[in-house]
Symmetry: D2
């Protein structure tokens, strides 16, 4: 009820603050019998970790994960899986200022008002550092889904940075995504995006972006109407990520301008499968997966920490100036790609297990 | 777990099919001591009901609500409030075709696959008729919120139909919204929208639209990070409405193109309140309301039922043609306005009560 | 969160007051494809209804149930099943006194204090009339369980009234239970129990009793440790029934006096099954069903409504005398038998569906 | 859904196996602003830890707790509180046998059947070692309750071992409970209990017992009928503890033999409070606390690990002999006292916070 758990069946609870001794996650509801080792998780964490490239923060965190419980002789036991990530490279001194003055468009002010107390070091719990725990849990969800659904692949990628949009490059694979540091499969657009990010970084500023995601291989039938529709739970999952301001599935906001006769996805028969000729539905109809690719897009605002002086207010309620110090991402979307994938995998594993109950 | 409940504290469960004897809702978690009568609920249902105007379906349903339990001598008792709406004007014959052939971009196919059985009459449970129950429950939430939060007002309105966008008309009031049948406060745009809807209707076609919503008067502190952020729960609520394809809060998808230094909402002091100079955050920071207006937008696709022949597939798996008969909305957004408000009120009442626990 | 729902998968929500227009229940989570008609439910309600015999209240209620939603052409659709029971034979006048003076050992006082308002007619929501809804929902659970688990039988019976205990009669069947009005399979004890109940009734007094329950045919593996053990959820279910003061499984309180070497249930092999030679565990080990009969006992206090003058306090806080009028049960256990069965079936169907998720 | 969480508001999730590197608990929902340090928790863990005295196991575990998250500068922040206890003194060799043969009346067999895999070392997750996490979480609940409810005291004690029952010693205080190693406030009975336990220990056998609990100072109004009654949630909590076979509140099973006119708790006025002359209700009426002492009793079976040869079955399905080695409790109730208190505190804090929502 206090908001730190996600999922109803494959339920995760994350804990820990940016500058405390550790962060971590408990997964309750991972089926028994899944082969799982730390390398399965580490590979995804490495995609999220700071210090990867010139377009991300220069903060260097190893983010080494340890699986402490729930795995015995390399196999999940059906018991809670607890994973820890120790915090390192903490320059709490960088945040002395934050203790006194609220950072604009950060959570400092609302946490102070809501809780009456806050761990201001590095943003404490409101730091995007918490998303490392989601990535760790998502890696387990992914491994399970790949083990039970043949052909299951969930691929996110950067499709926009500032006003630069990727072109259509057809089927997107992970190797295309990982081919450049901005994680945009359109290599031409990627180059321009990198230039743009380096430019805003040099200005001490930041810029937003969009992460797109495609999930292939889903069976028909995931999603529980009328409220727990697959698109609704994906929407909640994505909107719960730091800095996200928008979510759309299939035709999204653009679909508004279409006529019904254009927008409708006509059915046809392919072998023994019922398929649709177009996919404006984004793979979900009536809240339930229809067997086509699930497609959605997530809008990230520009990172709030800028290296410029800003107007703000102090904890004691007086107007004050704020200038960030420290090392921050000029654009969050390259590192957000594995987070979006993780949250998608977590939503899907939950609905996969829910659907099993009623078979 | 089967998806027909929403909310954790002020929890609603809706039931009933489009062409069964009745639909209804149980509210479990409405505080005791609230004055409540059927007229409080009916007024909102009347805004959603079919047959209101030339831009909505000509199906005529009274949608008279009865409060059956949970109210004693005009006051809520803290016990479950069950409300019923009887179904009328059922022309099930109109749907004979639907029993045999899946309607494109409807839920017919996925329900058949997921459940192995479906009540095809009028779309059964997947019909937007279910949203009448949400409007009824939302009216109770609204009455409660208005009774405990001075100045609380939640106002939704149509801001786009097809490619026609409303201009900025400043503060939007309910009387401005109700001044025309399309529920757009920009009267000039409204006229064009009505024309457009009548045109697509005449063509047997449909068109999409956007509903915007502003919530005024919220205290600081609603929302439970890290997963149950106010924006995340609003996102889920809106994405759970039939035909919704997108959701954005504050700057939304447009914010992607801004620099951090532009996007950040600088703090200032106004009397005893900390306020922000701009509101790109949409009234929510770190997942928690910051006391500014909460602002979001919801994209609705064009209604899937069009009066044109479409390619489809039969229940027995053969390709077939489908042509809708019956009476349908050419554009859903005018009637979606009270649904968006209802879901917003339901999310907010839930977070209001949650916040009380931890005070 | 307000307490009117039970179950996590096969989730029921009951609503309605003793003297309002109706009571009812919504089941969300009943799998699709189950044949279901009103007669399936009515047969259980008839076992619970008042006015059956000399040992129950003379109040006569038909308790006719109507299935309003979730069933199409005689089969469940996976959608919420709402069932209504209209209230009849209301002599609200009998309760005029109750509006002013709290009935000892009833819920009047705590409801007034907790909610600040209460529907005092017939005890409103706190009346055991609410259990009719549980019996209706339990009948659906039972039908589902019998359809998926060959040999599944859940049988409750009266094993004690006052200080009269039934002897061991071996395997108990429903026909043995229904052979007499007190629902005790030991016919000799049953006669004495009936005499005792008629005697206390003549005195305007009441007496308590114990209901025992045996569930046969359960597969190994139901129950989710460490908190949602099968015995823990059965305990909660039984303790939530009006007038229940105690619950024990297997050896129960008596097992306290045994040595471990006596109490342990030795394993042996029977065909391909692992079985236990004794069943002090009551069919549950480590919180999980082990394939043996699940056995438990439920203690009911004497009914609080007695036809004798009692000391009490008025709503305005002054000492006052209270004397009940109206028609009440002298002993609740004969009518509690189907309620105990219903709650057992509800717990088991929930755990059956939960276990399916993780297979 | 997998059963490792308890509580709806003050929600705990425990994790870890008996012989893994650590066990621990996350609390999500502890209000911000509570002073909390490790000593607050350690004092309760020390009462539960093995190796305290001659009547408990000679296994020696320090059970030192570390608070890793959710506390900043000595105060809770409203964020998840994660506490770790490292495992020590593991003699996994003692359990080699357990890998091959199921221990009678333990969870070995059902875990193997349900999950297909199990961490057999020390019983893995099914070990009562898990209850240390409950005691840690309960200590936080207790500290919070004592900080908000003046006069709140929750005291459990041993009232029966085998067939030896404690006499009535009036008001029980913690110092009376801690005055002897068996934690029975009747010092005469305590001596005999110690003798009995030492005798069964010498025989390589074990014996059961009863823990009674009294909660003083509760306000009127905790408990949410109809399902989440305070007595129902206490029942579930207690039944979820390893080795518990029975639960009763107030008059319990003994109340069955009383007449209603004797059993009813007459109301009277004391100052501004409505009170009852007797307390057969055990402080709970209609599922809601009535302001009197909450009283309940919990039955523990004899510990299943006995130093005698027993009949059993091997993992491969053949009959086999089992003889435990290692160090085990001859009677669990002295160490169960802090566990019962912890679970009571966890239920009460949850209902206390729930009641606040609806004020």
């Amino acid at each position: 009820m206090a908001g730190n758990s996600f999922g109803k069946i494959f339920q995760i609870t994350t804990f820990g603050e940016s500058h405390g001794p550790m962060i971590g996650v408990v997964i309750d509801g991972c089926p028994a019998g899944l082969s799982l080792c730390e390398a399965d998780v580490q590979v995804e964490l490495d995609r999220r970790r700071p210090g990867q490239s010139s377009v991300t923060t220069s903060r260097d965190e190893e983010d080494g994960v340890s699986i402490m419980t729930g795995v015995f002789e390399g196999v999940t036991t059906g018991m809670p899986i607890m994973m820890l990530i120790k915090n390192k490279d903490q320059r709490s001194g960088d945040y002395a200022n934050v203790a006194e003055v609220f950072r604009p468009s950060h959570a400092d002010y609302v946490y102070q008002e809501k809780y009456g107390v806050r761990d201001y070091r590095g943003g404490g719990r409101s730091s995007a550092r918490e998303t490392a725990c989601r990535v760790a849990a998502g890696a387990v969800a992914k491994k399970f889904l790949e083990s039970v659904i043949p052909g299951y692949v969930c691929t996110a990628y950067v499709s926009q940075v500032g006003d630069l949009r990727a072109g259509d490059v057809g089927e997107v694979t992970r190797s295309m995504v990982e081919a450049n540091v901005v994680r945009c499969p359109d290599s031409g657009a990627a180059e321009k995006m990198i230039e743009l990010i380096e430019k805003v970084k040099a200005e001490g500023d930041t810029v937003g972006g969009v992460v797109s995601c495609v999930v292939k291989g889903l069976p028909v039938g995931l999603g529980e109407p009328v409220f727990d529709r697959l698109n609704a739970d994906l929407g909640k999952a994505m909107m719960s990520i730091n800095a996200v301001k928008g979510f759309e599935v299939g035709s999204g906001f653009g679909g508004v301008e279409m006529k019904g006769s254009e927008h409708n996805d006509a059915f046809f028969v392919e072998g023994s499968r019922v398929r649709t000729k177009t996919n404006n539905s984004g793979g979900i109809q009536g809240g339930i997966s229809n067997g086509e690719d699930v497609r959605f897009r997530v809008a990230f605002k520009p990172v709030a920490t800028v290296m410029k002086e800003q107007d703000s207010v102090s904890v004691s309620g007086e107007e004050a100036k704020m200038r960030a110090v420290g090392r921050h991402d000029p654009c969050v979307v390259p590192r957000a790609v594995p987070i979006v994938e993780a949250m998608a995998n977590l939503v899907i594993v939950d609905h996969y297990l829910r659907a099993k109950m009623f078979l």
